[in-house]
Structures are given as C-alpha cells and as structure tokens.
Amino acid sequence: MSGPVGKATPYIDGVQKATGQAMYTDDFRYPNMLYVGLLRSSYAHAKIKNIDIKAVEADPAVAAVAIGKDIPVSFGVLPISPDENAMAVDKVRYVGEIVAAVAAESIEAAQKAVQGIKVKYEPIREFLNPADSLETCAPDEQIHDHTKNGKNIHKTAELRFNDPEKEFESADFVRKEKFKFAGVTHAFTEPHSTIAIWNGDETLTVISATQVPHYLHKNLSKVLGLPIHKIQVKKPTLGGGFGGKSDPFAHEMITAYLSMKTKRPVKCTFSREEVFITNHGRHPTDIDMTVSCDKKGNITALDTDVIIDGGAYGSFGVVTSYYNGVLLQGPYKIDKFGFRTRRTYTNKPQCGAMRGHGAVNPRYAVEIVLDMLAHDLKIDPCDLRMKNFLPENTLTVGQLRITSNGVKECLETVRKKSDWDERYNKLPYGHGRGVACGFFISGSALPIIWNRYPQTVVHAKLDFDGRIVMFSGASDIGQGSDTMLVQIAAEELGIPMDFVQVEAADTKTTPVDLGSYSSRVTFMVGNAAKMAVEKVRKEMAKAIAKEKGIAIDSIKFNDGKIFTKDETLDLSWVEGVEIAMAGRGAFVESGFYISPKLGGDFKGSGAGLSPAYSFGAFISEVVVDPETGEVNVEKIWAAHDCGKALNPLAVEGQIEGSIHMGLGQALSEDMRYVKGQIMNANFFDYRIPYSVDTPEMDVTIIESNDGEGPYGAKEAGEGPIHPVLPSIGNAIFDAVGVRMCELPITPDKIFTKIKELK
C-alpha cells in the first residue's frame, strides 16, 4: 500500500480537539432556546398515584411541562424488548427514573421549576438483588407485566452441545469455581446531551451525543408518532461512548417532545450524577464456571451458569445474555460446551452494552479457571493455552465461523517479550506474573432490527474542485472512524488526505449505518468505503481512457497523479477530475457491505455470529503488598490480532485505552447501591484509574490479515479489554497465592484472603 492505509495517521479532527474548536452537543446553542429540567423518582419501585403540575404550569419561566402519559409509547434499542417509556407512566422502577420534565427559559429556572411538580407514590416491594428476582412474587409486585411465571426474569439464554455435564463426571481434571462481579459503568467524559429543533417545515432535527443515530431516529419516530422521513438525527463530535451512548434514551424523547410542543429549540444536558444514574453499564454478574481437561491439558468441556443483574429495563440485555455464553467458544477449541444466562430485572438503573459487551466477566472466569487447571496439571499456563487454541478457518462447536486467527502469535509474542519463561513463578513473594487471552466479534453479522438492506452504505462524491466527500452514517466516537474513511479514499485514489473530507452521522444526508457498537465500523464501513471509492476510480479511469484512447487497466492512481507506466499518460489529480467531469459533472458512487450468511440452524444460533473475530494475549506483572493488600500493576505486555492495522496509532490507542478500562474494573470500579440508591455517582467515590495508576504498557499489533476485512482489517476497540482483567487476577495468584474471584479486587479482599491462607 502506497497511501496512508497502514501508516500511523493522526486524527483528521485532532487539531480541532486540541484547540477546543471541536463542537460537542452541549457546545451548540440556538436562538430562542429552552432548557430541560427533569424530575426523577426518589423511590426504587412505586406506583404513581398522582402527578400535580398546576403550580409549575403557572410559572412564567416555564414554557411546557411533560409527564409520562403525554408520550406513553414504549421504546428500547432491541425491538424484542421495548420496555421503556420516556417518563414513568404508571409506576417507577428505579431511584432516578424520570417522572416529569419542564422546558424553561434558563437551566436554573428549569431545575427550580421542576421541583414544584408534586408526585404521590405508593411504594411496592423492591427487588434489589437478582436472587430475589429469580423467585416467584405476587403479580402486582412484578417489575414488568411481561415476565413469565410470576418471576422477574427478563431473559434466559441457553445453549448446550455434546453434553458437557457428562464429561465432567469422568474427566481427569475438573475445576468448578464461583465468581462475582460488581457492575461498572462507561464513565465517558462528555455527559449525555441532546438538542431538539422543531423546524418551520414541520420536521424535527435532533442533535445528540449518540453512538447510533439510526436507532435514535427509529425510536423517536415510534415514540413521537412522527413519520420517519421528517426526522433528522445528527451526531456532532462525541466525547466517548464505550457502549454507553448506543441506546436511544428517555431524555432524547423528552427533549424532542418538548421542542414539538413549544415549537422552539430545546436543550438537555446531564450532570455527572445523572450520567451515573442513567448507567447502561456492565451488568453485575454471578458466574459458576466449570472446565475440565485431560491429563495432557487438552480442554474437554466447559459449562457455565450465569446470572446478570439487568436493572429496571431491557436495553441490550437479550444480546448481553447470549454474549455471556457464546463468546466462550474461542479462542480455545471446546467441543463439549454449554451455558445458561439468566438476566433479571431489578429496581436499579438499567445495565446494557459496555466495551467487550457481555464477554468480559465470563472471560475473567474462564481464564482464572484455566490457570487453576494449569497448576493442577503442573504445566505452564502459556503451554496449556497453546495446546488448546482454535486453528484458522474452522467452525466452533456452535458454528461460529473462524477465519483469520493470530492468537498463537499473540501469545508467543508476549511470552517472549516479557521473558515469561524466566520470570513466571520465579519472582519473589509479592511479585507475580499472569497470562490471559481474548476473543471478540468484529461486528455483529445480524442486524438488531431485521431488514433486507446492507449493514452499511457509503457514498463517495467527486466534484469539480477535486474534493472527495465521503458520506457515511458511521459515528466517530473518538475511535477515529472519520479518519479511517479519509485514509481509505486517499489510498484508493492515490491522493493526499487533504483532498478528502467527511460528512458523517446525519440521518438526512448520510446513508443509513447501524452505528458504532459491536466493533463493526472498520470491518463493515471500511469495506463499503473501499467499494465506493474503487467505483469512483473506475469511473474516472473509464473517462480518461476514452478521451486519451488508452486501455482502462493501464491507468494508475498514485502520489496525486494519474498516469500509465509507459508515461503516455501523466495527469495531475485535478486534470484527471476535469476529464471525468466533462459532460456529466459531479457524481456519487455508492459502496455497501453485507455480511455473508453465517451460522447454524438452531435457536440462538445467531448470537455471536461475526464475519471475523479478533484475538489477543496479555501478560501482566503485579506487585502486591501482603501487609495492606494493595495491588500495583507494574507492566502489561499486550498483543492483539486486529487483522490489518489500517491506522496503527489508533489501534495502539484502543489497546492502551482497553488496558485502562480493564484495570479500573479489575481493581477499583464498582457501582454501589444502598436500597436502590447509587452511593458513588461521582469520580471521587467511583474510582477510575488516573495517569498515576496506569502501568507501563508494551503493545504489539499482530496482523493476521483477514480475507474479508478491508485490506485485511478486523477490530481493536473491544477485544483488547478481555485479557486485561484475568491477566491481573492470575498475576495476583502468582504474587501471593490467593485466587481472587470477586471483582473489583480491592485491598481488603486480598488482605482477607492472605490472612485465610495463613
């Protein structure tokens, strides 16, 4: 490749971000704009007996008031579980749920006015613990009417192949272990923010901090009863998502409704506390993990039983339930395999998709259990893993199609670079090394909302000025997808990147894309972009060949020039554009991506299907102070197989960011509730690693070059988080001999375990 693909490429919007010019949602303001104030429930589970808005309606600063009954149409990201309302209709299901809203002339007036709304509640039995939600309860105690058998179970996902239970009875080595994981949240830096503008032509424009303009677009139409062609959703610069901005949100519906009602622009921006209350983070999880192997260390069976605490609403929960199981089918070959996940409703803020969706906690469990088995067998944990890796081009037991697979190279790399064989199990007491691997999808092969369209479409426009504009619905959420679009166009047309510009994430001007989640953007949007620009190149070559009387195939595009090898043609880019425009003017070419048909013929076979999978292996070194139980992660060696790294700088950034986020969940992050009230909705008490907490990182990109990815690319946004947590857990065992099966691994837990050991 002679262009920017594969080269370290700073972001195209980097200067705007570094100078404060980049516009995030809350940075926009419109004439005559109103501000939203939200009244939130102080009860975890209660019937709403009465809402009195009279006093507030009379407030001269208030332009409009809204309550649940004004827009009672339910919504949700998954069409199979649309169980949310913009505001609570008949009852509230968690502390902090939105009950009413006002639009007022200033933020202060809105916040003050909304407190004047009087709500009468009648408390109902609260379900704060998933164990209670698994039991039968009285019908009027159920959190949602639609759950079965009088229980508060949202979803049971279960698959089983080749009777793993039977294998456990006769296996040489079996390990069964219980794990417990606290809920964690995305904690992106930009709080949720939305602006809705009711336009004079009776259309609605919504500017929102969203990872998925498309789902917001569809759900706005449903809730507001507004035809979908009259709604425009735009994502401006976005301050981080990590899955936490991928659902359509209640405040987005409310803001849009208030704009329609008042015919004025309306803005709603959350406080940090509201961001924590909104959550949608990783589910608190209980896992029973059983794995067996033979005397040689070949894994013979795996079965796991998982309970995830979903909170009050569905969100991505059905998908999360499946991902807790199906993504254990790699990177190891396991033919006797099973799982059951039960997702419970509880009276807490809902959980949803977060980086590494559904697979992070079971990955921790299985990698710890494999470490235990390696000790039982007295073989090196790296050797045990090497024995069991899936090969390339194979099917897993549940018929996930594995194509490129660089996991062996990942493990060999970190093993060598970290000098594992000389250090593991040989460091002094208190110092330890641990290894773990990872496996993740590179885009979900099935769309959430079934349709016959491609997964994504990209338009490339060429105009007289020589500029290529890439129109894509893909959402750049900081991962650099806009930069990727420019790199691909510049690569294919042999032009400098500054000839290429991007129009993205606007449902009026950009072709529909399903959004930035499930690590799909590089693979799917990258392929579509490449196809679109290839077509532009062909159209240009066709016109030039005709005018110059030369063969189309002889024409090359490189270095800002259009030429033939024999130099009979030697045009600048702009000269070539002039010829291509003659008699037709500006034109647009379209590229698309459709996932191949994948998967087995059984219920649940669609879960975890992806056109490609990423792999990884990490080694962590920790120092544990046995006197205090404090853990310091000193260094992490990371190797991740992302296929081809289109932008190695961005891939490294994703791996390093994953280490940060994995470290936080492993050691300190914990959504703590008392009686359904979140106790640590701020960065003092919800402890995220800061610069001083961050280990030294040695990052290696492994390029397995996937046959179907654009230039061979797969994903790097989510896969690299999986090995982080268990490599730390296993290193703690190597350091002080205790198995940490409850996250976060806080000093008190280690200290207690060390004391028990003595």
Binding site: A8, P10, Y11, D13, G14, V15, Q16, K17, A18, T19, G20, Q21, A22, M23, Y24, D26, D27, R29, H186, A187, F188, T189, E190, P191, T237, L238, G239, G240, F242, S271, R272, I477, G478, Q479, G480, L649, A650, E652, G653, E656, G657, S658, I659, H660, M661, N682, F683, F684, I688, Y690, S691, V692, T694, M697
Partner: protein, 155 residues
C-alpha cells in the same frame, strides 16, 4: 446579578454574572467560549482547567467574582493564530487524544507545567496530570506527547 469586567485571553468583557457563578459557566454560557469543557462540575476531572494569572485552576470550582481583575486564559487563548502550542501539536501527532473531550484540560494543565518544569521525566509528567481524567487513551500517548513537547520546547 453583578456587572463585572473580565479579562479573557487578553480581551476585556463586561458581563452580568450571578455572585455564585463559576468561571466555567461564565465562559461557556455568557462568553460562549465552549472550548473549556464541563465533565464533572465538581473538581474531579480537570476538563475545565483554565489559567488565572498564569496558574492552572479548575473552572468549575472557581467563582467568577474571584477572577475579576485577573488575567484569564482559556484553551482558545493558547494557540497563536494557526500555530499550535507544542503540547497541542504533539497531542495531535502522537494521538494523545481520542474523543478529545478531556484534551483542552490536558493542554491547560501541561502548558504551565512545562513552563515551570522544562525537562520532566515520564513519571513526573504522570504526576503532573494526576488530576486530569481521560477515559479513552490510557494516558500513555498523552504522557509521551507531553514529553515530546518538552523536548521541542527545549531545542
């Protein structure tokens, strides 16, 4: 409401402010200088860092009334025209930013730090940024960018 005169990025502004208002809200809402970001609004993340008489302060914890008669510099006042400050230049070049929301605060923390500490080690840089929350980068590329900026400023 009080009528006050504020000197921001070398320009004088007369504005009406609430006595309890923070300089973060005054900058964003009254002067429409939105480069300074509101992330936590309680002094935990460093995103709203601005300079008051050359020293970095948290905009969300600084009453506007305390800024009267002092020189306020925001992210908009850092680059001279099109020339990026070396800190900005290396954050861009080294991808010491992803979503970019914490970046103005990182720049406003690092610039005065390097003025007073021209040759810091990576550990010293880490310490100097211990109040700036970044959720994207894992800090490595930020630290390295600031070290490169220091090298450029020293050469």
């Amino acid at each position: 409401m009080d009528k006050v005169e504020l000197n921001v990025n070398g320009f004088s502004h007369t504005v009406l402010v609430d006595s309890s208002e923070t300089i973060l809200d005054t900058l964003r809402n009254r002067l429409y200088l939105t480069g300074t970001k509101k992330c936590c609004d309680e002094g935990t993340c460093g995103s709203c860092t601005v300079h008051l008489d050359g020293k970095p302060v948290l905009g969300c914890l600084t009453p506007t009334m305390r800024c009267v008669g002092k020189k306020i510099v925001t992210i908009e006042g850092i680059s001279a025209g099109e020339d990026l400050h070396p800190v900005q230049k290396h954050l861009v070049k080294n991808l010491g930013l992803q979503c970019g929301f914490c970046t103005p605060g990182v720049v406003m923390t690092a610039v005065p730090y390097l003025e007073n500490n021209p040759d810091p080690s990576i550990d010293e840089i880490k310490n100097s940024l211990s109040g700036n929350l970044c959720r994207c980068t894992g800090y490595k590329k930020i630290n390295e960018a600031i070290q490169s900026a220091a090298e450029e400023m020293n050469s």
